[in-house]
Amino acid sequence: MSFALQCLRCSWLTRGSAAITCRRRSFSTSQRLMMSRHTHAKRIQGLDKNVWVAFTSLAADPSVVNLGQGFPDIPPPSYVKEALAKAVSVDRMNQYTRGFGHPPLVKALSQVYGHVYGRPIDPFKEVLVTVGGYGSLFSTMQGLVEEGDEVIIIEPFFDCYVPMVRMAGAKPVFIPLRLKSGKKSITSADWYLDPDELSSKFTSKTKAIIINTPNNPIGKILTRDELQMIADLCIKHDTLCFSDEVYEWLIYRGQQHVKIATLPGMWERTITIGSAGKTFSVTGWKLGWSIGPQHLIRHLQTVMQNTLYTCPTPLQEAVAQGLMLNMELIGQPECYFTSLAEELEGKRDRMAAIVQEAGMTPVIPEGGYFMLVDVSALNQDLSDMKTDDDDDEAYDYKFVKWMIKKKKLAAIPVTAFVSDQSTKDFEKYIRLCFIKQDSTLDAAGAILKNWCQTNTTSN
């Protein structure tokens, strides 16, 4: 590949990164020729762009109220922090542990999920501990998806699914959640999967379907019937199911989270992914897990053994203790698996109210900690935002950039979570994260209140 082409690629790269390096250097001819040999492997072609790298830096300005990236600004429960500090004071906890998962942790996971699934789970053969839910997704794709496979992805999707499928040499096949006709979208339950459309996506090349429930960004929880429909197709076509359930505990009143792996015929073909970060509000601990049958998990374990080998010991020890503690508390008000959801429901409703006051339309999520907000009714004039991006950048990208700059409020554009063919259906939405302190929500509320007023006075 020519150096010129490399530099062109540089300029596509997200801000604040290699693009600057590229322009800043001056090269001699011989260096130019030499560097052209240091090409990257084909597997990363086109995978360098990423919505987070772009928007995280924009939102990093401390004067911006950040409802963008999905992490809490509320503290985690004190007992997990204490467990971590205690672990570090034990010599053995600072050295390598078992590669596929620290024994106390896989045993705790086996107990908690054995209870949830209603079946025994072998801690050593049916569980793999990974670097976050993200690491589980990666181990799953690398372990089970091959060149030429097709993988069905439901839109909107957590954005990493696509590059991971591509990196495995496979082709993503999209099916969008659709809004029930006639409905002004009110809740995430108003979005559905068309059974005929879904069925048409399964081909002889389909290796797997990825589902995410509760869904990021919409917050939809797939119903038992919907899961059964997916399960029927998986069984009929003998495909795998990768079920991303990192928000499994964040279920709001009246809702029920169903694990597709518990449906008949599904345990043997499903990998279920969970996250300590989301479970205990410690996204910075980056621990997650995959649970499934041995004949599938062993391939994920092989990937683990050849990628990073083992996860940090003291963090695993602390998560194990957090799980065991809460296992004892299941059914009680102090159980974090349920108390966090209760706390968040209030924040969810508050967020919905303040967003409505500003003239935007929220999509009330059934689960998770994100909310889609339809900003189209505002008809916001974005023309005072001069950008050097392409003119055909999606509306939500432009809106969010404008909102960060002009209103000091950060969100994430929802078209980051859909394929190009669905952009038109989703570009009127932005995603807000509401697992935030009351003071953060207050600050957001003040901006949104002001917005309404500013708009009125300037028009």
Partner: protein, 421 residues
Amino acid sequence: FFRKVKVYGQPNLFAKSVEFTQLAAEYKAVNLGQGFPDFSPPQFITEAFCKAVSGGPPMHQYTRAFGHPALVQSLAKFFSRIVGHDIDPFEDILVTVGAYQALFCAFQALIDEGDEVIIVEPFFDCYQPMVVMAGGKAVYVPLRPKEGTAVLSSGDWVLSAEELASKITPHTKAIVINTPNNPLGKVYKREELQMIADLCIKHDLLCFSDEVYEWLTYDGAKHVKIASLPGMWERTVTIGSGGKTFSATGWKVGWAMGSGHILKYMKTIHQNSIYHCATAAQEAVAQGFEREHELFGTPQSYFQQLPAMLHHRREKLASSLKGVGLQPIMPEGGYFMITDISSIAVDFKDSDTKDENYDFRFVKWLIKEKGLATIPVSAFYSPEHSKEFDKYIRFCFVKENSTLDAAEEILKKWSQNESSH
């Protein structure tokens, strides 16, 4: 069904060492096999971790994906003066989940189907499956004991320039070196690195330099970074480890350092595989480097104290081994010492293992019959060369004195048994 995974799905050394670990536990063996300390990390680093844990909520949430700012900045500051190059913390460094993941990112980002990668043997065995997983082909060139002299030190094992040059083809993309070396303990001299560098420049190769044991050198051996040689910064990925640096292998904080135009590809792999590394652990390692920056070159520096302590442990183990007629190869650096076992005649009696390499059989016998766990060195060689090097076993001496004392007892008893026959 899973063709690709089958190719690299063979159990690697870690998996085998798990087998040995289980065997060692079963026989209650003194374990000098596993490559990690059985003593605690230094107090200042565990305190730094506790301080990070009790820090505000941001310490428990996602940090910058390519490396916690405090850590990349302290690494850049620390290593710039060693490498002799202004390292940009945000362009030239990628923080990873241990050096292991840094290696993974390097192979995935830069090695493609059909590329050849030269691996110097003996090698930390994950290099080979990582090359295969990236679609590449591993080409091996062994370090060999010098002819005609007594081989007493890892410095007596050398790379032949001709042999290395002969392995380079138009498909060669990179060479992997590890200095100080696991398992041999060799610390490559400047001239040896220059020889490798000359070939890299001549043939426009990349160099992946695994330097996780960089602070552990003995007998005045000096660790030299190949990236500091002229013409090498722009083509070298240097890999380091917080775990090995601060005796906290379970923290899994590592990094890759190199020119941004190469690192950026590794960042793409990282952002599509793991994305973020644990925040608190990175903060603690950052504080560790800040402290070492202040104390660099002084007697209070952990980078002086640890090798000084291990120097003695190394001597202690070597004399125990010599005392029973074994021939240790004194390592110039690292965690490990290999020992020639060819002078010992053993009747294995175990017909189950008769197809395995001699050192594998010996290691299992040593666990079961003598209660001492080690690792067979032929595990660190390619299939084509493993039979040439199957008379060595590897000991880890980064252990408490009590562990080494226990090993010494076993060896003494063994030699007494031998001499009484």
